[in-house]
Every structure is written in C-alpha cells, then in structure tokens.
Subunit: 239 residues, 2 copies
C-alpha cells in the first residue's frame, strides 16, 4: 500500500465540520491528499476546528468544479454508496476495497469518492467508479456520518498496509520446562498450607494448571509468583 | 457476535458533540447501550445534533459516577489506548478485539471503554481492562477523535458479526465486580505475608491484575483461589 497515492474526494459537502473531520481521519491513517468538489462553505472555522492538528491537509486541499477534474489522473476510482443501486455495479466492503487498492497504489493514483451528506453520489457519478464500496451497517439505521465513512475506509487502508508488518511480541514467556517446575512448587506450597491433600485431590492441581496455562506465564510473572510461594513457606506455621 | 450485549463506556467526555457522534456510530453498527461516566455536559444540544437519528441511544444512556459501576456486570472489559504503556498489557488491534469479543458476547456483557479526549484512560482505569485495543495510526499524528475511535471499533464488531459463527462457551466467568473483590483479597494476603509493601509497590498489584485478567477467571477458579487465600491468612504468622 502506498497511502500517499490515495486521494480522498468529497463532493458538494454541506457541513464544513465534516471536511475538517475528514482531514483529521485521513491524517490519522496516513493519507494526505484531499480534493473538494464545490464545497458549500470552505474555508470555514468549523472545518479548521474539527481538523485538530490536520490543518495542513486543509491548507493543501485542492478545490475543483467537477468530479471529472478531481479524478482525471487516477487509475482506480472507488465510490462510496449506502446501498445497492438499481443498476447493480461491482461492489465490495471496505476490507475488500483495501485489498484491491493496495497493489494499484504502488504505481498509480487512486481516488476514494464520497458523496453529499443527504443524497450521497448521483448515479452518473457512481457510474464513473470502478467499484462501489458499501460499508456494512444496521439495516434499520444505515446513514453513516460522512467523516465516519472516511474514517472506516482509511482505517482499512492502514490495516491492509500493516498486515505485512509482523506484530511485535512484547512478552518473554516461560517455557514448558519452567512451567513444570512452577507447578511442582505450587503443589508444595498448597500441600504445606494443607489446602491440597493428596488423599483428596479434587482436581485442584489440574485446575491450577488449566488456569495458569490459559494465561501463559511471562518469565517475570513466574518469578513474582515463585517469590510469593517462598514467602508463604517461610511465614506459615506448619501445624 | 451479540451486539446487544456490548456496551460503550465513555469516561469524562468534554465535548458533548462527541457523545452524539458516538451514539450515531453505535447505532449505525447495531450497538445500543451507552454508559457515560461523569460527562462534562449532558444532555446538550450538540450531542443531540450530532446524534442524527440515534437520539434513542442518547435518551437511554446511563450516567454513572465511576468506571467501576459502569462495568460491574461485565465479564470482558476492553480499554482503548493510543500507545504502549510503561507496564505492557495484553493488547490487540480492533480486528483482533472483535474476534475476542465475539464468543463472549453471546452469554455475557462486554464493555468497550473510551477515555478522555485529551488524556485518554488513566493507568488505574487501564489496569481494570482485560485487553487494550490499540487502533493503528500514523505515528506522526496518532490522536484519533473520540467518536472516530468508537466508529472504527464498532465497525470491526459488525464486520466480525457478519463473518463468524458463534462458539459454544463452556465456562462461567467472573464479573468485573467479583474481580474487584478478588483483587482486594489478594492485596490483603500479599500485605499479610509482607510480600507486598505499600511503601514499595513495584507495580506488584497491577502485574497480578494483568495476569489474572489475561487468564479471565472462571467463577469456580475464583472460589478455589479465595479458599487458598483464606487458608494462607489462617496459617501464616503475622510477625
């Protein structure tokens, strides 16, 4: 994924706050290029306020007269739509869209086109698009806020961008060997305080194993627990 | 996924517009239950305006005084965090979070906890959580708008809802309330045997919290562990 080659196009946005929130959503996810087709009010204080620290994206936003100009140099155009249209079009969810965009973005410009707050994209605008992205929603209440839709799609782009980067393991886990030694000590302590009675085992030891195996013990945690065991052994009266 | 068992908890929200936008994001994705911990302004016109058609969620929102009350009956608590903390906690991205939440949501309440606009969740709030959800962002501009974060996570819940088949849960898990009582007893025991010294805490209690939250305690396991604690208290010399 090359996020810098992916542009967000907003068509005839009514609420400047949505333009600001779009800029913020884009910058959070690593996108930079915003194109506004006939915004109703722009620049505007509400846009700047909702943009937070993404005012650079607003400052660099390009304002144009029509969609054709906004997407002229793009090889892949994805439109957003709240529902299936009368003329069915190739459509996908945001995750599938990110998968389609990823290879293209390395060598060409890609446009994500978002329609008006109330009426979305018109049919002739939708027909310019290669794909329609449909964000899955509650069928009883499906109208997503404009900037929320931008956020979801940009998030999927970033997720797809990251999938190749392995998640870093932050813990050092105990080995099976160490776990074995740990359970021996646990048994010793439980026997010592007479909570565990070998003649009446009640599955106590397997239950403890199930619990600590489920957690997976970090080496540091095991050291702490063994410290607690030692302390109990030293302080109990073995009556 | 049972979206109706998943609650969104917003802590000390400053901007009522964010509460409204949260309600809209929730309803779009099929969630219903909103709990507000000490909101600065609520109800408020900005909340109603940004909620759009999700004003029913605002009307039914529960307002409480502290996080403890908000999550008392939840068996799985996921906190949102913008970064790794000094004491690393089990963390996951929103997609992994949705996978973890899905099976639990069929039989128990789940809480998604979101912090303050500027300062997020405090450490003691993060330590109550089983997992921290970290939304991947641009490292140069990582502060997501509150409602945008809610939108992304609720979207992932819906996506997972569309893909997964419920797993049969075979355990009865402890609630957050019960876990709280458990940690109080653990602290008492560790103090009693002088392993824990309040003047030199060394993050011992959060480490224990992290371990047992990660495992998730079954009610039976908790009973066993509390039995062990009681036995230790009875058999140790408080020198």
């Amino acid at each position: 994924m090359n996020l810098e080659n992916i542009r967000v196009v907003l068509i005839e946005t009514s609420h400047p706050g949505n333009i600001g929130a779009t800029a913020r959503a884009m910058k959070n996810m690593g996108l930079k290029e915003l194109v506004l087709v006939n915004p109703k009010y722009f620049p505007h204080d509400n846009a700047t306020e909702r943009a937070g620290g993404a005012d650079d994206i607003l400052a660099n936003a390009l304002i144009v007269d029509d969609l054709k100009t906004a997407i002229a140099d793009c090889e892949l155009v994805m439109g957003t739509s709240a529902r299936e249209r009368s003329l069915p079009w190739p459509s996908c969810d945001p995750r599938q869209a990110a998968e389609k965009i990823s290879p293209v973005s390395h060598q060409a410009n890609v446009a994500l086109v978002f329609g008006r707050e109330r009426t979305g994209l018109f049919n002739e605008e939708l027909h310019v698009c290669h794909w329609h992205i449909i964000i899955p929603t509650n069928s009883e209440y499906s109208s997503l806020n404009l900037a929320a839709a931008v956020q979801v799609i940009c998030y999927e782009l970033r997720m797809t961008d990251m999938i190749t980067i392995p998640l870093q393991e932050q813990f050092e886990w105990a080995t099976a060997d160490e776990m074995q030694a740990f359970y021996c000590e646990l048994e010793k302590v439980l026997t010592h305080i007479k909570f565990y009675k070998p003649e009446l085992p009640r599955q106590l030891l397997p239950r403890m194993q199930r619990l600590f195996n489920r957690a997976r013990l970090e080496k540091n945690e095991m050291t702490l627990l063994r410290g607690i065991f030692a302390k109990i052994l030293r302080t109990t009266v073995n009556y």
